[in-house]
Symmetry: C2
């Protein structure tokens, strides 16, 4: 293949094409970027129940195209949040998996702090019904007033809970000792690959028509209809990220997390503590890995480690015997999420 | 003086005395220790309103003879508490200065954590009336159950709020934007210096009689009454530690903190922010130092620094122009509190 390509560059007409390709690559990249969103996961707290010297209580942030999607706000999260410089006034949604204190207490201090720092934009918060009471009663008793509006959305059923132009967030009941939800961020499919060579051959002028074609519109050039699907390939699937919260593995979650690009799954114990995991409605790293494998998840990131594990490598090693793409969350660690295609 | 002492060892009768002194020093030390309590202050959070990379939210612990007296529990305090290894099951009293979120939110997580770690002993908690509602409502909504009992004591007036055999804790209204209290730990006077030489001369047998005399009892030796005050000097004053919480300086606090061995006073701003301090009901480091000086406090420890001061040395320098014994609190820093006499 490489040799064949080299030969092409020695053909005069193909030389023109190569030149074109360089130019068009830039144009194509410009068009493609219009439909891309940078996305990364930043862990702000990775310890279960009790914080350790290295690990704070649960919180994970997905930064997507300038918006922050925050999953759980354990006590002390605000301190790591400020250090990451993720931005106090970005568009923001907060999702609480369940109302155990190590997953929600930090919400109050976090809101107070970003208020003191001058946030103005509304925050949408999602969780089970007691979340509203938790926020309202504390605001009343401690007399908290904020510089921004908050809208609490009570989740009363599974399914889509938030939608934007290019993604949606859905939830599924988790299997924990109290009402709990797992979440998925699913991007809508984005436009397919733009065939610059063909567009050039058809004499379509570069610029706005390229963008319209890429966006699925048919266009007319010199009186001739050019259909979008002549130039643009089949839609490319968006990314899917799963966040388990605290849960036992379950067949419902296996379906819910089907084909995630990255699955963030709780991994409180190693297999030796299987009974403890069952008793406390948590998962072992082996169970997390098995679920990720059976769900065809591309990558698994383990988090929510019991404070008994000073070094959670033991959890990683266990999971890697089952799934071939596993990593450990750490406080302040960032995972970038590229497009698969 | 040193030369004179050296000479004594060459005099035969004085040599006996010297020998006696060595022996009796041990005995005396043993007797004295019975009436001594080791005491230290450990700062667990020293930042005002917003935590910084180096400083957590307000909390200070006084460890006295195995008991922990905790003043405020800002968010994240539990993490530093666990690191200090102060002990999760010690006798413990918690005092909340006021119900601003940065001074009380950590109470809930702290209790949850020491419960998970197996605490069994009751905790007494002191604060204004909303404190009870804050605890009860959160326990109800988040469904917190603890492994130990808590007793909330609502403070409704100034004065003594807790007493033990050898110390008491009193409170005074602070001048803040919400109901707030400052606290003092005052040890009762302890027995005076035991005159071993005289006890030896009077032929009092070492042991229990020494202890009884030291404790203020008169005793009979060989039919002869020996009064305690013949052997034991005047009582020595106990230590006094003051904790300001958030406040403007005031004449009431100046009286309340009179002659503290150590005064821990909030120092949110430098003098340049005097107007800001007035507006937000806080103190500057100059004001803290002036109050400590006018109260004849031996040592001043500044804490509760605005997050604008990456390095709070500027606050220290300002205070040292007014008071000659000032230090800065830092997270995890310990100050030992020796007896003055």
């Amino acid at each position: 293949m490489i040799k064949s390509k080299c030969n092409i560059t020695h053909n005069s007409s193909d030389s023109t094409l190569t030149l074109l390709s360089k130019q068009t690559l830039i144009i194509y990249r410009y068009i493609d970027v219009l439909f891309m969103a940078d996305m990364k996961i930043v862990f702000l707290g990775t310890s279960a129940a009790i914080p350790t010297q290295k690990r704070g209580l649960s919180s994970v942030v997905i930064k997507r195209a300038g918006e922050l999607l925050i999953f759980d706000v354990g006590e002390g999260m605000q301190r790591n949040f400020l250090q990451t410089k993720l931005g106090i006034n970005r568009k923001m949604k907060v999702f609480i998996t369940h109302l155990h204190i190590d997953h929600c207490l930090g919400l109050l201090g976090f809101f107070q702090t970003i208020s003191l720092l001058g946030r103005t934009k509304k925050i949408d918060i999602y969780g089970e019904s007691r979340l509203r009471e938790f926020i309202n009663e504390n605001f009343r008793i401690i007399n908290i007033t904020l510089s921004f509006e908050i809208a609490v959305h009570v989740i009363d059923k599974e399914g889509v809970i938030a939608s934007e132009d290019d993604y949606q967030i859905s939830c599924c009941r988790a299997d924990h000792s109290v009402p709990a939800f797992s979440y998925c961020i699913c991007e809508y499919p984005r436009p397919g690959i733009f065939n610059i060579k063909k567009a050039t051959e058809l004499g379509i002028p570069k610029g706005n028509l390229y963008r319209r074609l890429q966006n699925g519109e048919d266009v007319v050039v010199d009186g001739k209809l050019i259909k979008s699907n002549e130039i643009v390939g089949p839609k490319r699937k968006g990314r899917k990220i799963g966040i388990s919260g605290d849960t036992r593995p379950s067949s419902e979650l296996k379906n819910f997390f089907d084909s995630c690009d990255i699955l963030v799954f709780e991994s409180t114990y190693i297999h030796d503590y299987q009974n403890k995991a069952i008793e406390t409605f948590h998962s072992t790293s082996a169970e997390a890995a098995l679920l990720a494998k059976e769900s065809n998840c591309n990558k698994l990131v383990l988090t929510h480690f019991s404070s008994r594990y000073n070094d959670p490598t033991i959890l990683l090693d266990e999971a890697r015997t089952i799934h071939n793409n596993v990593d450990l969350a750490e406080d302040m660690k960032t995972f970038y999420i590229p497009y698969a295609e």
